[in-house]
């Protein structure tokens, strides 16, 4: 299939590279568990904040993972070399999604396990829905990570996006104050932020707050953010500039 040409070699390459990259492996496997452990030590009733922590960290860590991973591909010159080969741009981006998507899945499992173990999280609406939500949150962060890395010239610039793009989401996305209680000029921006929907979904699945419709809206919004960011990324990764 020419539309996805290059997908599987690229996905395979992403995963093979990890074997030699212990720092990234640690970022995927140990760091999430460590962070959740630290949270469990400082909050007296961690179960009240657990769902927010799980939402925020899956987003944050996946963003770092993919933004830096894709940026490295560009700065090392391998991206241009791959683009000189018979691959399609959508195939290339899909390859990254599969490769990093598997990593994000592992990370989601680690966060889920740590949440249960350290934060005593229980799920009002089942662990399956929680995992689906966590996974979609990771995929959104993945799409945004790939997209934003295309606008960064080096790793420092990719990190400069964190205060600009990630922090407002973490502050406004229903984490500290419910979105409805924000002044209107902040509520509307918050409504177009993925973390808002991730937190909204988590509140339903973990705490049983809100209605089933809130969950479906959250799932649909996260799916849309993922597809949109990846579609834009496939267009931005042009062969010729």
């Amino acid at each position: 299939m020419t539309l996805l040409r290059g997908t599987f070699p690229v996905a395979r390459r992403v995963l093979l590279s990890l074997r030699g990259d212990r720092r990234t492996l640690a970022l995927v496997v140990f760091v999430p568990a460590f962070i959740i452990y630290l949270i469990s030590e400082v909050f007296t009733r961690p179960e009240t904040v657990a769902h927010i922590m799980l939402a925020v960290f899956v987003f944050f860590l996946t963003y770092i993972l993919t933004a830096i991973g894709f940026l490295r591909e560009r700065t090392a010159g391998t991206l241009e070399r791959v683009l000189a080969a018979p691959v399609s741009r959508s195939g290339l981006v899909t390859g990254y999604v599969i490769g990093y998507g598997l990593l994000a899945t592992v990370q989601s499992i680690v966060l889920l396990g740590s949440g249960i173990y350290f934060l005593n999280v229980t799920f009002e609406h089942g662990i399956g829905l929680f995992f689906l939500l966590e996974f979609l949150g990771a995929m959104t962060a993945l799409g945004i990570g790939i997209l934003l890395s295309l606008f960064a010239q080096n790793e420092f610039q990719a990190f400069q996006f964190i205060p600009l793009v990630i922090s407002p989401q973490i502050i406004l996305g229903g984490t500290i104050l419910p979105v409805e209680e924000l002044p209107f000029y902040l509520e509307y921006p918050a409504r177009v932020m993925p973390v808002t929907y991730l937190v909204q979904g988590m509140e339903y699945v973990v705490l049983g707050r809100g209605e089933a419709a809130d969950l479906w809206i959250a799932l649909a919004a996260l799916g849309a953010f993922t597809v949109a960011s990846l579609a834009v990324a496939s267009v931005v990764v042009r062969r010729a500039r």
Partner: protein
């Protein structure tokens, strides 16, 4: 000589055509069609900087064509435009008759590219890197092709070592193996021998000639004048413009000089009077 004359100078009868040598001799079978490369009145600007200014180049058949010139002459820009990785501001370029910007998957399968940067994966072994490109190009009998490419660059003993453990020269050779694993008809190499010791450079050149004799068209950039001597034709670029395009022997004849260094200086003088300071060719390397 003007760039427009260049078409007349190529196709030397002394260069064996691909059919003269059975592919099996090299163990690197080539596909049967002809190879060509054409650039017409190419111009590329980066903001206020004009990297290429009216470049013409026509190459037909298996040749080693060198693109020589000082840093910033436009060598890499020319290569990237030819590969369709950069769109020209004006003018056109094509590979095997297909416009560079329209090269499809089937066209790209015939092209090999070795960029100036290392452009291989540090966390993979030599074999994994070559295998990745073999998969991208959907090479048949992949493992045999990967072995062949690795032995072509003489890295059999280090095939399972991670790239981050290799020396600079070995990394360049791994990069070359990645560029040839799919047995391309058109090989584009950006400063392939930079940073290599003379012995290794000679080995690489043997490899290039071997591929040329098997029917490949090789376009390579260099800022070593001594290296340009080894090409079948040399395109001298300066400030994005073609200073001259000819075979090294004809350059020497034309300018009445003994080496390309002097020939280059003579060409500069002819172009615009005595050479500017930055154009001095010291010790065979462009300043």
């Amino acid at each position: 000589m003007t760039p427009g004359d260049v078409g007349l100078l190529i196709n030397h009868p002394t260069i064996p055509h691909r059919t003269a040598i059975p592919p099996a001799v090299h163990g690197l079978p080539m596909s049967g069609s002809d190879v060509s490369l054409s650039v017409t009145d190419l111009r590329r600007e980066f903001g206020a900087v004009t990297a290429l200014d009216g470049v013409d180049l026509d190459v037909d058949g298996p040749r080693i064509v060198g693109v020589a010139g000082p840093n910033g002459a436009g060598k890499t820009t020319l290569i990237r435009v030819v590969l369709g990785l950069l769109s020209p501001t004006a003018g056109s370029s094509s590979v095997d008759g297909t416009a560079s910007l329209s090269l499809g998957a089937a066209d790209r399968e015939r092209i090999g590219y070795m960029p100036q940067e290392d452009a291989i994966y540090q966390d993979l072994t030599v074999r994994e890197n070559v295998d990745f490109f073999a998969r991208l190009y959907r090479v048949e009998n992949r493992s045999a092709a990967v072995d062949r490419a690795i032995s072509f660059v003489g890295l059999e003993d280090r095939a399972d070592d991670r790239v981050s453990d290799l020396s600079g020269g070995m990394i360049r050779r791994t990069s070359l193996a990645c560029a040839i694993v799919h047995d391309p008809d058109v090989l584009v190499l950006d400063e392939p021998t930079v940073g290599l010791d003379p012995k290794l450079r000679a080995t690489m050149w043997e490899a290039f000639r071997e591929r040329r004799d098997a029917g490949a068209l090789i376009l390579l950039s260099t800022h070593y004048l001594g290296e340009a001597t080894r090409c079948d034709d040399v395109l001298f670029l300066r400030n994005g413009r073609v200073l001259a395009f000819d075979s090294p022997d004809r350059f020497l004849d034309e300018t009445g000089t003994d080496d390309l260094e002097d020939a280059f200086l003579a060409l500069l003088e002819r172009d615009d009077g005595p050479p500017a300071e930055g154009d001095d060719a010291e010790e065979g390397v462009f300043a």
